[in-house]
């Protein structure tokens, strides 16, 4: 004869079944995400590597060559696949944009956390959120109609080039870097500030020697995130950089980035051809760079915790 209490204890309760169901759902979601990320990676990698395996281009030539003309073969019968101009362009606009943006971002963040009233802080916060939400084509359009003529009149050249690109990206990464810097400044415990002031430090000394120093790893992370954003931005940059796939001679001459060449070219090539595979190789570089940015952020985070 079955003991009713025994069978009740041994069977799974409704609550446990709910738990199991919930856990399965989360596993399913995470599984889907991992599958998508992996397949993107595999797809881009297999296409990107084809340039070197199928089309026999040399990796060294690809990374250091200065002539980009995938549809034309040179005297030895190889396509001209030198991506250095685009790599230079991408790094150029990214680094310049971040150099312009960082001081402004830190200044704004300090104003928001240390100087302004609660109300001013709220207003600035929404201004920054608004900046994040503006579509990049709008930034590109403003860049095209304001920044390009401005650069042309004040710096010379045609106005299209790395300088214009970095001005546009400066505005685009500023909100990212600022809001992350604000977060890292807010994360500095209040008692560090109190301790510093109680020792006779001025407000500026406290900001400079305690606040910024304690927030350094957070601020570096913010800068790297800004770089990742700038590096991956395509449309706005494409509209102002001039899109000449040649080695940039300076900040004012027409240039191109990895992303701009991709968006310009991907519709004009046929799947499986050299030209198409070469674009996939550029995409692979972009993917690897964002991976590197991510790893750097992790490393900084780990170091920040140890201090």
């Amino acid at each position: 004869m079955e003991d009713p209490i025994k069978s009740k204890i041994q069977s799974t309760s409704k609550e446990t079944r709910q738990d199991i169901l919930g856990r399965c759902l989360t596993y399913l979601c995470i599984g889907l995400i991992v599958a998508i990320v992996l397949s993107i990676f595999i797809f881009v990698a297999s296409k990107g590597i084809a340039t070197f395996t199928v089309n026999k281009a040399s990796l060294w030539e690809f990374l250091t060559g200065k002539n980009w003309n995938p549809t034309v073969t040179d005297a030895s019968g190889k396509p001209q696949l030198g991506a250095l101009p685009m790599i230079t362009g991408s790094f150029g606009v990214t680094i310049l944009a971040v150099i312009f943006a960082t001081p402004f971002a830190i200044g704004t963040a300090l104003y928001m956390t240390e100087v302004s009233s609660k109300k001013g802080e709220k207003i600035l916060q929404s201004v920054i959120e608004l900046l994040v939400g503006i579509p990049s084509v709008v930034y590109g359009f403003i860049g095209l109609s304001v920044i390009v003529p401005f650069v042309r009149t004040h710096f010379g050249g045609s106005g299209y080039g790395i300088l214009s690109g970095s001005f546009v990206l400066f505005v685009m990464v500023l909100p990212t870097v600022t809001s992350m810097t604000v977060d890292s400044l807010r994360a500095v415990p209040r008692y560090y500030k109190e301790a510093s002031l109680a020792l006779g430090a001025t407000r500026w000394q406290t900001i400079y020697k305690v606040l910024l120093r304690s927030a350094t790893s957070g601020i570096l992370t913010a800068i790297i995130f800004g770089m990742a954003r700038a590096f991956g931005e395509a449309l706005a940059v494409q509209m102002v950089i001039g899109n000449a796939a040649i080695m940039p001679k300076g900040l004012l001459s027409s240039a191109s980035t990895l992303t701009s060449v991709l968006t310009m070219g991907i519709g004009n090539t046929v799947m499986g051809t050299v030209g198409n595979n070469a674009l996939w190789s550029l995409a692979l570089i972009l993917l690897l760079m964002s991976l590197i940015f991510n790893i750097v952020v992790r490393l900084i985070g780990r170091k920040g915790r140890m201090d």
Binding site: Y191, A195, S196
Partner: protein, 251 residues
């Protein structure tokens, strides 16, 4: 005898709320003074008026006069930066900066513009010795202060204050977050520096007040109930509330 710190009729308001209701109290030059009373009685608030840390809280209004070494610290001419160099403060939670021990102790000096390495080194050794933590940390001065135990951190924080050579040291329940052994070390340490500094300590621990202080003041609901020589206050309290509090009938 001239008192070093004199406060007359000090009222403090947090917005509408009156947190201090006319405190008239003075402390002699050098020695340990204890402020006791139940939570929320205003003793920490009073302590923070002495180095104007309450200025940092928006909406605080203070009336009355507070003189330290003959100078009105709330006069418009007073520079809070200079004041806080003369009136150091140790907080309830150990709050070393996330820097090395050496940088923590020299912080006050470096912001005051002292660059001479020899002076800095001397002062670090001297203050860490005064704070009774030198033997434990002398080989690890470059290590992060956050790697120390809570009690060691608190003594480094005390050393950080002493390094600036203040006249007054304010301690806001410095041992309440620490274990009994660390508390004992800090009490012994305070007794060794009592003749060099004017010390004002807020404490919840009545035994601590009776063990180390020369003068004790009892606060209740924002008012000063009674103040006097520690021995007299604990053995022959004049007011009924004091008697009730020190004999554990409330608080």
């Amino acid at each position: 005898m001239d008192d070093f710190i004199t406060t007359k009729d000090v009222h403090l308001y947090y917005g509408e709320k009156e947190a201090l209701k006319g405190i008239t109290l003075s402390f002699p030059n050098k020695g340990i003074n204890a402020l006791i009373g139940p939570s929320g009685c205003g003793k920490s608030t009073y302590l923070r008026t002495l180095n104007r840390m309450n200025d940092l809280i928006p909406g605080v209004k203070i009336t009355g006069s507070i003189m330290i070494n003959g100078q009105d610290i709330y006069s418009p001419k007073t520079d809070t930066v200079d004041l806080r160099k003369k009136v150091g403060m140790v907080f309830q939670q150990p709050n070393p900066f996330p820097f090395s021990i050496y940088e923590n102790v020299t912080y006050g000096l470096r912001i005051a513009g002292v660059k001479d390495k020899q002076i800095l080194d001397e002062r670090v050794e001297q203050s860490l010795k005064q704070a009774a933590v030198w033997d434990e940390v002398k080989d690890d001065l470059r290590k992060s202060a956050l790697s120390l135990s809570g009690g060691q951190q608190q003594r480094v924080c005390i050393a950080r204050v002493l390094a600036v050579q203040p006249d007054v040291v304010l301690l806001d329940e410095p041992t309440s977050a620490l274990d009994p052994v660390s508390s004992g070390l800090i009490e012994d340490m305070l007794l060794t520096i009592r003749d060099k500094y004017t010390i004002v300590i807020v404490t919840h621990n009545l035994q601590q007040a009776s063990r180390i202080s020369d003068k004790t003041a009892f606060f209740l609901n924002g008012e000063l109930i009674e103040a006097g020589k520690t021995k007299n206050l604990f053995l022959n309290p004049e007011r009924q509330e004091t008697d009730d509090y020190i004999s554990g009938r409330f608080g």
